[in-house]
Symmetry: C2
Subunit: 476 residues, 2 copies
């Protein structure tokens, strides 16, 4: 059992700032009270243990709804704001949510036939009588996020009280924690990168400095003036922050502790530029299934261990499947209290681990000092601007087109986004790139849209006819 | 499961200093290797899961033996260096230890008939073949410490992997943790106050700056020069540190973070003096059964909430038995992952908690802001120089004297030690104070010896003939 984090945090440090947004701020006591009110309103729609889908940009209203759901112990399905209506419909149906809570601004993105309650409607509801638990079970699911894999079907990943707390604790033992911590959140809250900032805030008593959208100028102002101590970002955001710091000729304030950079590897050039502006960059390897970071590379090691994701956090273990030898590649396996106990919906029966080990599907090795290197992402995962793009998911969509016989998708390096997807198809009948793009647009989030569609005579396959995605690029 | 802390720490931060003593220091990698060697030597004497009693002053040799026992997963019984031979014999027998490891300097304090292995003998042993576990179960007992209670019979309290880790984590979330942390350890390692410093060191990657004995001059030098960030101490030590700082007219270095003051309440005068020399004092309420701190009062609150032990640490809960009302006194009950699962030896069957709540026997209340005040210690506990002294234990010894009919012990305020015990007896035959003192000396640690022995006509008792220890003082 753990104490209800929101209640405990408000009890321990009621007057500390828990959230800052624009010119406004809220103490932990205020957040607790607003969340309690929200929980009682929500209780008219949802019972403890039922699921709520949440679809909203990163605003204080979203934070309060999230904390309200936590008080009520409703499991939250965080919907990615960039998904297509078809993708959203799949997740909402799979999760069997009792209600979809949506910010009015996002209404138009949802499928038509879904019953929703807007944040504004929620705010009008009377409070229901409901008992707010003082303690939470470690195994209780707080949040659910969908992630695709080899099958191309998104699986709803459970993130429990234990997962989030041990993730936050391991991170604290690694990055340090003080009363003065302020974490700048400009990554989406519907991603584990953003959601985990809220969890750390409650557990640490740290301030979340929230922005609705990433804004390089604002980030640099916060970092240079020492108003924040931490930021989470992906490669493309780091580059924009660095450019802005270079343009303004400013450095990170000495109070600033770490830019946590995830979502794929960071180019060496960025690391060198970061060192010049005194911006400590901590590279991290993590995923939805591990409720954020699993390994990190300290900024001190950044230029000595280029390409490495560092070492595991204290309570985590990483091993390479089938080997104990350094420099030998194999599947990266992760064990620890931050690893998801499993999935919901149609994949509820699927086990997520073997003897406690999560088989990530990612390929990597460990060097002679125990530093992890990620060589190839699982299922040929493409990471585009920090978003995971699974080739199989795009291929499934393409194969649904009546003119498409075979489809293969791979990533290609892109200066801005890190990677972008490319599609290769074998046609039954001639079809234009524009037609294919329009077809995909109906089914896929825009960041998943292949940048180009190439019609080819055949796709590279191995002896057992398995598609060799890594050879697709040779067709160009 | 948790990773073997020593191995994991050496893997993650091999080159960081784990221990400093005199002019010497050891990295975590060195400590790991020396502990491995020690574990393999110990394996010739003890098997995994068996018990080892340890009796030694606070030296690097002790730290290495402790880490060796942890590698071997032998349960350690930490023997208090100030106990009498009779008290030691009781604990060694009760714990059924496989071996008693002893520093040569302490040999003479042990009972004659005990088979021991000195640290020096241990160092001469060949290594045995033994597998060192990579993971530890949360429920595994790391250490055992004896503490007395109402019965006067010391009970061996189990302190598990989970107890120590959650205690350290909760403390980190409260006091903060950074890569630069150095914890000055001048409290005995055989007490939870000292032992928990070692555990925090492994979990945080923090340096332990160890002294064999408390030395106010050395403490002040470390604190004033910024060579340490934390210190644990009791009231009498704090006073000596303050006097020395005042004498030298020095202040705590800005790097210094917190003096953690436990073992009973701290006089207001000390807090005011501490504020003048910029020494942040964090008062704490904890005990052997909670593997160190349960509640702390921040230095910011020290002069606003005089007499308070503060608020619980994040993962802990405190309630007052039988009431939810502020300012209402009752028994202090504690719940959390740091609470012992129970005892060993003759009290192995005794349950330590009710519905997860440890009933401390201490009486206290919570104010309207949720701050805990400890009003009366359990079983009329006397805290003398940070050591717990249980009246019942002394009374049992006195009652064993043929001339003593009744005995009652209580504490009286003492300028140097905080409290000292006084004994009141009803005699069968006349007996001198010197005779009683000599009798007690054979059976009791010197800090437990009553300062005075008073012969009285009768002891204050209630209607059911229960001794009223708090009324003893009125007999003077």
């Amino acid at each position: 059992m753990q104490p209800n984090w929101i209640k405990q945090r408000a009890y321990l440090t009621p007057n500390r700032i828990g959230l800052r947004f624009g010119g406004e701020s809220w103490t932990f006591q205020q957040l607790h009270e607003e969340a309690l009110h929200k929980a009682k309103q929500l209780a008219t729609l949802v019972k403890r243990g039922e699921r709520v889908a949440i679809f909203a940009p990163s605003t204080p209203a979203l934070v309060k709804v999230i904390y309200g759901c936590m008080h009520l112990q409703a499991e939250m399905v965080l919907l990615n704001g960039r998904l297509s209506a078809a993708e959203l419909a799949y997740q909402i149906e799979d999760a069997q949510v009792a209600v979809v809570l949506v910010a009015a601004s996002e209404m138009h993105k949802l499928p038509q036939n879904i019953k929703v309650v807007t944040f504004e409607q929620l705010a009008e509801l009377d409070e229901a009588q409901v008992e707010i638990a003082g303690e939470w079970h470690e195994e209780q699911t707080i949040s659910i996020m969908y992630t695709s894999g080899t099958t191309g079907f998104p699986k709803g990943v459970r993130q429990t009280v234990q997962n989030h707390s041990m993730s936050a604790i391991s991170s604290a033992l690694n990055l340090g924690v003080t009363e003065q911590d302020v974490w700048l959140c400009t990554v989406p809250i519907f991603h584990i990168s953003g959601f985990s900032i809220l969890m750390r805030s409650l557990l640490y008593g740290a301030t979340v400095c929230l922005y609705e959208k990433f804004d390089a100028q604002a980030c640099v102002r916060e970092i240079a003036e020492g108003d924040v101590t931490n930021i989470s970002l992906v490669s493309v955001m780091l580059e924009r922050v660095l450019s802005e710091m270079e343009r303004l000729q400013v450095q990170a304030h000495p109070r600033f502790k770490a830019a946590l950079a995830g979502g794929g590897s960071i180019p060496v050039d960025y690391l060198q530029r970061a060192a010049k502006v005194q911006l400590p960059v901590v590279q991290t390897y993590g995923m939805t299934e591990t409720s954020s970071q699993t390994a990190t590379l300290t900024s001190a090691d950044a230029l000595r261990k280029i390409g490495s994701a560092g070492k595991p956090l204290f309570f985590n273990e990483i091993r390479i499947s089938g080997t104990n030898q350094p420099f030998t590649e194999g599947e990266i396996c992760i064990r620890g209290p931050h690893v998801t106990p499993g999935y919901i919906g149609r994949f509820a029966e699927r086990v997520s681990t073997e003897n406690g080990w999560l088989l990530t599907g990612d390929i990597g090795y460990v060097d002679d000092e125990g530093y992890l290197y990620v060589v190839d992402r699982r299922a040929d995962l493409i990471i585009s601007g920090g978003e995971n793009v699974y080739p199989a998911e795009i291929e499934n969509v393409l194969l649904a087109h009546p003119y498409v016989l075979e489809a293969g998708v791979c990533g290609v390096t892109d200066e801005k986004w890190g990677q972008v997807p490319l599609a290769f198809i074998v046609c039954k009948q001639a079809i234009t790139e524009d037609e294919l793009r329009a077809f995909c647009q109906q089914k896929l989030a825009s960041y998943k849209l292949p940048k180009h569609f190439y019609c080819v005579a055949s796709l590279p396959r191995n002896g057992s006819n398995k598609l060799l995605r890594r050879k697709l690029i040779e067709l160009l």
